[in-house]
Amino acid sequence: MRRRGLLATSAALATFPRPAGAGCPEPRGTGDLLVVVERARGSVLVAESTRRTILGRIEGLGDLSHASMVFSRDARYAFVFGRDGGLSKVDLVERRLRARIVQAGNAIGGAIGRDGRIVAVANYEPGGVRLFDAESLDPLLEIPAIGADGRRSKVVGLVDTADGGFAFALFDAGEIWLLDVTDLAEPRITRFAGVGSLPYDGNVTADGRFYLAGLFGEDGVVLVDLWHPEAGARRILDGYGRGEAPLPVYKMPHLEGWGTAGEHLFLPAVGRHEVLAVDRRSWREAARIPVLGQPVFVVVRPDGREAWVSFAHPDNGKIQILDLERFAVAATLSPGRAILHLEFTPRGDQVWLSARDDDRVIVMDPRRREVLAHLPAEKPSGIFSTARAHRIGS
């Protein structure tokens, strides 16, 4: 009897093996994780927001000076895009590097398709988009970004779209392309040429319907309705600077992290110390909120009531909190030196800020605006919540 019990136990163990090896961490979910890029060290920190601790560091990811990442649909893996063209697949459960390739000379970011099978990377050198198998990182497809001018262009603002494809912008050529990879053997590209000068970034609304690209070379934003691509690309917020000489921009703004609150979408103006509120139905400017410097990230709190704004050098030690009901600055904080990025936890109980020159991540309560924790990190930059695994366009 006793013997049989033992046998039953070992059979159960064989079916559901525990992770082997000494010191193997207790299995835990990934839903509360944030991954922090350590830009100079070429590593990422895996941290959790329940107890606000760092679980581990994964090294050897190359040049992460402008790194971003996307997550597999099960939020087990992060795909990290490095400046040096590196694409690294990081296992957040075992906290180790699973695979790594160097797929270009110079890259800016990437996206993962809706079904989780394709990882796409936006490259500066050579300009274009490359697609990889998310399982193996084997190459699937290369799309050289050759604009109407016949020249190869840097690619920016690459996102996944609701139909399973991708959208991106050609920085040098001033174009927006939609990539349909329903049949990988016959990819289809819809090109919108001559949309405006120097699109610097692009993003898709949370519902996946609208792709917007911000222009650096002129005051305006380009909008493509992905439900009606046949209607073409359309210019919105045209001439928002109204002839004023633009102020110097010491760091390119980002559209990543933007958000909608009620009927409005909030964007950083370029060369103006303002955040623009756009009406999502008419796509007209609804308000502009004066802020203290060149905004870089305008990140809406998950409940949509406030947005936290970070700034370009030399104002990058400050954060302004916008009241989105009143379109006004509600508070100005000086949380640390060189705040490069910020990320809310999915339900907005915490906001994590990377303070590059303080070598730490600051965790704050967004409502009370109080510091909850400091986590040591070496020259931290981007912070990415695994909740992005379940969002279109992130």
Partner: protein
């Protein structure tokens, strides 16, 4: 950790000393020089790459800059380049500071 930082700082000072000794139109205070190197890596680096191999902006390696007139580069830093995202840095840097950075770049001696 502290030792490593000290060694790194010593190397930084040595590199700055070398770069200044070679061109050195103006003596920058060591603290300001260290600030400028930090600015070059991290803020110029946001477009030109942390390792200055390029990004949205062109690479700033000695080979990429070879043959360019140093004074023209100083002007580019101070005035920016119209039609590109390169901003004018003259509100934040004076000419001697711009020259210091250009010399570091041309010599390939960014610590």
């Amino acid at each position: 950790m502290r030792e490593r930082a000290a060694v790194a700082f010593a190397l930084l000072l040595a590199a700055l000393g070398r770069a200044q000794a070679e061109s050195a139109p103006a003596a920058l205070a060591p603290a300001r020089a260290a600030e400028l190197v930090h600015l070059l890596r991290h803020d110029c680096g946001s477009c030109h790459g942390l390792f200055l191999k390029g990004g949205l902006g062109p690479p700033l390696s000695p080979s990429a800059l070879a043959g360019k007139d140093p004074q023209a580069l100083v002007l580019t830093v101070l005035e920016g380049r119209a039609g590109t995202p390169m901003p004018p840095w003259k509100g934040l840097l004076d000419e001697a500071e711009a020259r210091f950075l250009v010399d570091l770049l041309l010599a390939g001696r960014v610590p």
